[in-house]
Symmetry: C2
Subunit: 604 residues, 2 copies
């Protein structure tokens, strides 16, 4: 087992002093959501980069359960930060451009007032007397800090896991103060499973005899066993099963030699013991209980309705990121956030990033190019710095979009589609690829544009081009969208690759007032002739350039077939445009024979 395994999952240093931290004392008492009031609260925070003159380049980063304000190194010889991968000059959250703020959470144990602070009313450490706090309270302290720093509006608030819950809270509670929200590996409420793990962890701490009802500091004990058990449990949930197998599967019976009071029999056991012991050295049990309870109490709504009601208050752009192997905050929960935001027509981009790293993925280098790239592009979009470049469009135009892939009359289909869509219309482009149709529509003046795409790289590319884009599989339907949410839904050259055609078309008709569908015409005379004369599956240099056994096209339909389909399914055809993409012209007669492509405008 490589020695760095024991370090890598725990991105925090042991409890060294925060050399670059500053402190701010709240001017008055802090009323808490659940009813009490805290006196003499101080906030410990760090900043990176410079606030610009317009004071509009501030990015607030919210740390996770065991994090702190030291998000990154300030200098080369500084202690490592927990997000050195992401925050720094030239990095995804670029401290040359942005003024980054990170504050220790209220209730924590790294400087901001928490259970191990002195209670001014008694002159003793709070300990058990520290009240139950909420995510809202943590955010309220951050808000007062921003007031103190003279920042009216954040360019963005960014957080993962518990930090993501704070980011969500910012967007909902202070919509006027947030231009963009980045919520990573988080959710509107914990899963019952995650909640259950927290309960077991707290029970382990609270029932440790050395916990002394929370008064362990004044009684000179430490609930080391309970806190270590809670941390061990946490570590299991931060890693994916696959990551655990890779780290500890092969040398299962070869634990590392450790001085620990815990079981030393298995290699994964020595890892957990190490993480548990180390955590006890640097974290406070009462803080752990307060912060984990704040996470458990966080709840923006169980139902879509409740969640939409809450998220509907936001007025920012959104970036939601999840990781495929995260089972503590499973991707479905991020998708619930996306669904609720879309229900309120909020601008949101989303990607479920392929990763085997589990919940910890956003702290690790493995998927950094992806999640870092998303954050970088999103922040740039917030500053209005994005847009397409000609070079990229040229590359994009190479993709064949007609049966014979003729480049003599490129994008004749796009010309037609763009003409069919009013400038004020909101448009959803299904299977938007790298956004070439969206770019065309934006050039025409359309502003309410959303793309949907399955490919991770293409999704990122669309975001970089400034679009709101959702990663999703068309074959799963469009359930994240509401009825009649868009003026126009476009399915361009994709119908023939769809498994459940009836589902998707019915979903398009539900979500869009009008839908535009384009597809290659399988009954085009040249294709008919191929089967008739050669007795082989038709093939061409363009869309049908694949072989019968590896083509992405799995549905073969003609214009006549689609018309039958519409008739049988009571779908109204408003317009049909048949194209000869080889000649670059509209076909008006004998379309099912003479057109290699067709566009339909339909509705229910």
């Amino acid at each position: 087992m490589a020695s760095d395994l024991f370090e890598s999952s725990d991105s925090l240093r042991t409890g060294r002093p925060l050399r670059h931290a500053r402190t701010f004392a709240l001017p008055g008492p802090l009323p808490l959501e659940l009813g009490e009031e805290l006196q003499g609260v101080t906030v410990t925070y760090e900043t990176y980069g410079r606030l610009n003159e317009a004071r509009d380049n501030a990015v607030l980063i919210c740390h996770a359960l065991s994090g702190d304000s030291h998000v990154a190194r300030h200098t080369a010889d500084d202690d490592p930060g927990w997000w050195d991968l992401v925050v720094g000059p030239g990095l995804s959250i670029d401290t040359d451009r942005y003024f980054v703020i990170c504050a220790n959470a209220l209730g924590g144990c790294r400087g901001t007032t928490g259970p191990n602070s002195l209670n001014p009313a008694t002159g003793k450490i709070y300990g058990a007397d520290f009240p139950t706090i909420t995510t809202g309270d943590i955010v309220e302290v951050q808000r007062l800090l921003l007031d103190h720093l003279g920042i009216d509006r954040l360019l963005a608030v960014v957080g993962g896991s518990m930090g993501g819950q704070q980011a969500l809270t910012w967007a909902v509670r202070h919509p006027e103060r947030v231009a963009g929200t980045v919520a990573i590996a988080t959710s509107a409420r914990l899963t019952t499973q995650a909640l259950a793990f927290d309960v077991v962890g707290r029970n382990a701490i609270q029932r440790d005899p050395d916990f002394r009802g929370g008064r362990y500091l004044s009684e000179n004990t430490t609930p080391a066993v309970g806190l270590a058990l809670a941390r061990m449990l946490g570590h299991i949930t931060y890693l994916s099963p696959e990551a655990m197998r890779q780290k500890f599967g092969a040398d299962r019976l070869r634990p590392r030699e450790l001085a620990t009071m815990f079981e030393k029999r298995f290699s994964v056991g020595s890892y957990l013991a190490y993480q548990g012991d180390k955590f006890v050295e640097r974290f406070d049990a009462n803080s752990y209980i307060r912060l984990s309870l704040a996470m458990d109490l966080f709840d923006l709504g169980e139902t879509l309705e409740a969640l939409s009601e809450n998220l509907g208050r936001s007025r920012c752009r959104w970036l939601i990121l999840s990781f495929t192997s995260d089972w503590l905050f499973p991707p479905g929960q991020s998708q619930d956030l996306v669904r609720a935001l879309i229900a309120r027509n909020k601008p949101v981009s989303y990607c479920n990033i392929a990763s085997s790293c589990g919940h910890d993925a956003f702290l690790l280098p493995d998927e950094l190019p992806v999640y870092g790239g998303f954050m970088r592009a999103f922040l740039q979009n917030l500053r209005g710095a994005s847009g397409p470049t000609e070079e990229e469009d040229a590359v994009d135009a190479d993709a064949p979009t007609s049966i014979f892939g003729a480049l003599r009359h490129p994008r004749i289909d796009y010309n037609q589609i763009v003409r069919l869509i009013p400038r004020a219309a909101s448009v959803l482009d299904l299977g938007c690829g790298r956004g070439s149709l969206l770019v065309r529509l934006r050039e025409e003046g359309n502003r309410k544009l959303v793309g949907l795409e399955i490919n991770e790289e293409d999704v990122l590319r669309c975001l970089e081009r400034g679009f709101d884009v959702i990663q999703a599989d068309l074959n799963s339907g469009l359930e994240i969208f509401s009825d009649a949410q868009f003026d126009c839904v476009v399915l361009s050259h994709t119908l023939q690759a769809i498994r459940d055609v009836e589902l998707l078309v019915s979903e398009m008709l539900r979500v869009g007032r009008r839908s535009i569908v384009s597809f290659p015409n399988f009954a085009y005379h040249k294709l008919r002739r191929m089967l008739q004369e050669e007795g082989k599956a038709p093939i061409s240099s363009g869309l049908l350039r694949h072989e019968w056994y590896n083509t992405p096209n799995i549905r073969f339909l003609s214009i006549a077939d689609f018309e039958d389909f519409c008739r049988d399914h009571h779908i109204t055809i408003h317009k049909r445009i048949a194209l000869d993409t080889e000649e670059g012209r509209v076909v008006t007669e004998d379309a099912n024979l003479m057109a290699d492509m067709a566009l339909f405008v339909i509705s229910r």
Copy 2:
């Protein structure tokens, strides 16, 4: 929250006396695998039904971690058994037919010698002095019990979870004494994640100050907190996230009123507290540690090679069952068992049963018709009681197998296939459906037949017909099979529905010495004419009876296309048979035009 939630997941009664249990004292000392020896071991067990004269109807059931010998009620007024759903007169494990034996595990706390038994050497309770035991030791005690009962050979050994590990051990250690093995929701070794949970559970117990190094009984304490924490953790792992959400998601903040020392804030918290407290009343902490460690140490091999080596010793038929939502013993681990067995040509059937119940599924009624049905059929097969009925074959023959679905000449393709396969050949039928081709081959005298099918009901149907059948998705390849494992691999009327044709055909050629592929010919003259004259996707009353938008057929190929494919991929065509299924004849001339179906015999 319904009150029965608190009962349902824990299928065990509290520690009432086992009224119907008998006891057997081992005649000599028991040498343990890890080196020590136990004196004066007694086994507590229960039996159901009657041993027949041939003494060949005995079924040994191995219980899970917290189970006991009371697998089912003996009488209507008896205490409930933990598998009353499955074991009893007329049930899946039918006590009218089989003699069922269930023994308490060595190291447990329900009668068989364990840590809370008296140590004859000292006259005191073993406690901490009870040695570390292995699954092999548990099985050895069961073996001595069978000797005592005069049973040379078990019809079957059946077990789920920890019981499944014992069943695997039986098959490997005592191949001559087991005719069939049923391994449910189990694995050859725990996942690292499952191992990690066990480590945390044991740490909670061992570091509870009341554990007293295991001497708690003699010091009149109980490590109640630690044991309860371990049990809480266990309960989380037994349920799927989805099941937890359903049970505790909606009323998250409404816990049940309980007298407990644990946190009572959330509904799932009160459930865990209840399960933890209840477990402490009926289970012994030292037993928990010994049994969970036995599970952790169980290891039939990390690699396929090691696992095959071990499972290769077995001489029984196998039934492996997993559940889709089981994350403690994930289905991939059962598939590893299947892969290792197949690598040694062992007769095995497998199904990954669709369930949202998690690891506990095999104890719950939800999927009982499926897992119970599999066990019933498997046991019947072991007694040679199965086979096809005419009625079933008639129903099966209705499925269209030619383009035009002509019934005038049914199964003309099967006639050809059966003729092509030597009687002694081993055959793998891919996409075997309900087994109609397998039945034909068996009628011809073929004995080495294996089916592969994705549909759960069809898999069960094949097992009921007496075949070994593996549930798998053809689109995932045939990686569970070794090179050249079968004389013949058949893909009958399925090629046109395959997504990754190149992968599957290449896999067939790897696994079979010869492969037979049959498919509808898309260039059949009637189909050509449809596209040519009507300009629509060809459709028919048979195989192509679906519409273009909902057909399972996604690959359209002709005889000529397939020949090109073979040429381009360096595949040898040994034989081609073209059929006119409408006329019921072999087509010898102009096949690509005149045949509606073709069969190819190919190899690499």
